[in-house]
């Protein structure tokens, strides 16, 4: 009973705790300056493609700010990390929209995360220029429910079906024709954007007179590919086609280690970075890779962008860097034509975009998808060659060298 009195200080402790809590709440209520135009960069900021987004964005913002900004307003960049998870992606989007009060979102990777974010775009009336999202579902949603989903535009890369088409075209018309390859094995990562691609590939390769003898999905975090490679070896395939947008060092290292005697290549985002040779211990030798830009004059802006980026960051631009850089310019172009930052006026202007960017000429289809073709945006195909350089092969007018296979690769007898 007497004990009660001994603890007079304890309500004090509780009050202090509550006060600290109040304090934290107040911290959130800071004032915002209204002057600059706030652009939200959203992506997996802790990993390389996200860092590249940030770098591309900073470069574009600095260039534009040096020339007076957009309609006189300086760009202020805000970043939010999706931590590569749809759940955190929603939190990140909320942060940009509500806390930072950005006027446009640029970035996005991968499709599954952006799909989870889609419903929030109409809630906040925020245009979203998607940089590293390939799923055709996204633009299908724009078509199906325009009023709700019109905020999304695909800027940085082509949609999955076009990626697939372009890759099949390269393999069939270049590698296939040259070396008599008729049968391929396709290995795809399990993700939203690869969903149904196995079927699409079978059809596409069929059209080019080739045959898919094996198509298999593997999980993104696979640690041991030996069983799948052993199956490839036995499948009768003459080439391995890979499709993944996550880390692919383990894949290519083990492919080399297991001496799979077939040419390998396809869509592999990690293989695009300039230090992939070093990160894979040189085991990516002979791998076919692709990128939307290399240091070649695709448009008059390509080489200046490439050189500026390399000078500034001592690194080649990843596809996400180019996409984010161009997306900011596309936004600027549309705002200037619309004369407004308001989403409802801006979106019709964005739809009429025809802008010569580093990537190519950017224009949109009716469903807000990026236009594809030599006059718009196309893909360049290349190969990793010893001692760690990328040789461009296709389209042939842009080629910087010829194919070289390591000696254990067995090609079909012609």
């Amino acid at each position: 009973m007497a004990k009660k009195r001994l603890h007079h200080s304890c309500p004090g402790i509780l009050m202090t705790t509550l006060l600290c809590f109040f304090g934290l709440l107040l911290f959130f209520n800071s004032a915002y300056a209204a002057d600059p135009v706030k652009i939200g960069i959203i992506g997996p900021m802790q990993i390389r493609p996200g860092i590249a987004m940030k770098q591309g964005a900073m470069m574009a913002a600095d260039e534009i700010n040096a020339k007076g900004g957009i309609l006189g307003r300086k760009i202020e960049l805000h970043y939010a990390d999706t931590e590569f998870s749809p759940e955190k992606g929603i939190t990140a989007l909320n942060k940009l929209a509500v806390k930072d009060k950005v006027e446009v979102l640029i970035g996005g990777m991968t499709s599954g995360i952006v799909l989870a974010q889609m419903p929030y775009l109409s809630r906040y009336q925020l245009p979203f220029l998607g940089v590293a999202v390939a799923s055709s579902t996204l633009t299908k949603l724009v078509k199906e429910d325009y009023d709700k989903n019109k905020y999304f535009f695909r800027v940085g890369i082509l949609k999955d079906q076009l990626l697939a088409f372009d890759m099949v075209n390269f393999i069939a018309n270049y590698v296939g024709k040259k070396y008599g390859i008729k049968k391929v094995a396709i290995l795809l990562e399990k993700a939203k954007w690869t969903e149904g691609l196995d079927q699409a590939f079978t059809g596409l390769f069929g059209k080019f007179g080739m045959e898919v003898v094996m198509a298999e999905f593997f999980e993104i975090k696979t640690n041991d590919y030996s069983p799948i490679f052993s199956k490839v070896k036995k499948s009768g395939a003459q080439m391995t086609v890979e499709v993944h947008s996550h880390v692919s060092e383990v894949f290519i290292k083990q492919y080399y280690d297991q001496k799979v005697p077939l040419p390998v290549g396809g869509i592999a985002l990690a293989a695009q970075s300039s230090d992939f040779w070093e990160r894979s211990g040189g085991k990516c030798v002979g791998e076919f890779t692709s990128n939307f830009i290399y240091r070649i004059p695709i448009t008059p802006k390509t080489i200046p962008f490439w050189d500026g980026y390399v000078k500034r960051y001592k690194d080649d631009p990843l596809v996400t860097a180019t996409g984010t850089y161009d997306a900011i310019y596309v936004y600027k172009d549309a705002v200037e034509r619309a004369g407004s930052f308001k989403a409802d006026i801006l979106i019709p202007a964005l739809e009429k975009t025809n802008y010569v960017a580093a990537l190519g000429t950017i224009a949109f289809e009716a469903d807000h998808d990026l236009k594809y073709g030599p006059d718009y945006v196309a893909i360049n195909w290349a190969q990793w060659q010893a001692p760690g350089k990328v040789t461009i092969l296709y389209p042939e007018d842009r080629a910087t060298g010829t194919v070289q296979f390591p000696e254990w690769i067995k090609l079909p007898q012609k």
């Binding site: 009973m1 509780l14 705790t17 959130f28 759940e87 942060k95 509500v98 995360i113 993700a191 939203k192």
Partner: protein, 322 residues
């Protein structure tokens, strides 16, 4: 009149009760104190974690049966809500109840085989059960959306403030029920199991029954919380089943003080808000956050709030239990 005085008497005589009441009343006022919708969003997340943590506590904190797979019940609720809403058009509000029941069914299904297990064996078995569910969402990606989950669920209210109040009401309901259970015979027996299970059995208590009931209750609220979370985010994915999330919940409970319900609830707010607050230091956020966790776990293993609660006065109470 009599009942009102009794409730009032109970309320002020027990620190956990009145601390919780004051705190939740304060939380009811938050939307009047701020119009920062982002903060409100953060607090919705805190509410969700408060439900997850307190529902873990009623089973594991009380009985000492540490469940490392609490996310199985959360995920069951979240995926259940997604399927019921997307395919059968079940409204979100009804889903809260239905998915709580789905959770409870999973609780019993997992509870029965896990009952005899203790310590690391139970930890691993529950962890394995949740991981099996997580793997299945990957393998059956055609139906579960795989890594990227299911999206397009109906929102549960029409805006952040609505979400906030609904989630807060769920927290209030959950804590009232869980604390009532905690102070009832059920809670007492669970505590006795923690102290000495064999002795409880020797005293003629059917511990199995009580443990199973605890599993079901714990899973019910976890499933309900999972369903709310799914509708709130309009999305659900495998991260709702991940081991990291299960561990986060345990850390919340540990920091708050296991077996108190109040502690884990308060810790859920403290950790969610401070985690968000740390965003201002940018890249170092997770480094500082995990560092803080280590320090708290190491130096206050019984929890931050237990220490405070134990020293608060009991008002208007006769010398019961002294």
């Amino acid at each position: 009149m009599n009942i009102v005085t009794r409730i009032w008497g109970t309320l002020i005589s027990r620190p956990p009760f009145y601390v919780m009441a004051i705190f939740l009343l304060f939380m009811l006022l938050v939307p009047f104190l701020t119009d920062d919708l982002y903060l409100i969003g953060v607090l919705v997340l805190a509410n969700v974690y408060a439900i997850f943590a307190s529902s873990w506590d009623i089973l594991s904190g009380y009985s000492g049966k540490e469940n490392f797979g609490h996310t199985l019940f959360i995920g069951a609720g979240a995926y259940g809500a997604a399927y019921l809403n997307l395919y059968l058009g079940v409204p979100p509000m009804l889903n809260l109840l239905l998915c709580g029941l789905i959770g409870a069914v999973f609780g019993v299904l997992i509870g029965i085989p896990c009952l005899p297990l203790v310590g690391p064996y139970l930890a691993l078995a529950t962890m394995a059960a949740a991981s099996i569910a997580e793997r299945l969402t990957m393998i059956l990606s055609k139906y579960t959306g795989g890594e990227e989950g299911l999206y397009g669920l109906d929102p549960i209210t029409d805006g952040p403030v609505g979400d906030y109040y609904l989630s807060l009401i769920l927290v209030i309901i959950t804590t009232i029920i869980l604390m009532a259970i905690g102070y009832s015979k059920q809670g007492l027996i669970l505590r006795s199991i923690k102290e000495d299970e064999t002795a409880s059995e020797a005293a003629g208590i059917n511990t199995t029954r009580y443990k199973l009931v605890a599993f079901a209750i714990s899973a019910f609220f976890a499933g309900m919380g999972g369903a709310f979370y799914a509708h709130y985010q309009m999305y659900t994915g495998p991260s709702s089943l991940s081991i990291i999330m299960a561990v986060t919940i345990i850390i919340v409970c540990m920091i708050g003080g296991m077996g108190t319900i109040v502690g884990p609830v308060l810790a859920a707010y403290m950790l969610t808000v401070s985690n968000e607050f740390l965003r201002s230091i940018g890249d170092l956020r997770l480094l500082v956050y995990t560092g803080l966790l280590v320090v708290i776990v190491l130096f206050l293993p019984r929890g931050v709030f237990t220490v405070i609660l134990e020293r608060l006065p009991r008002f208007g109470q006769k010398s019961r239990g002294v």
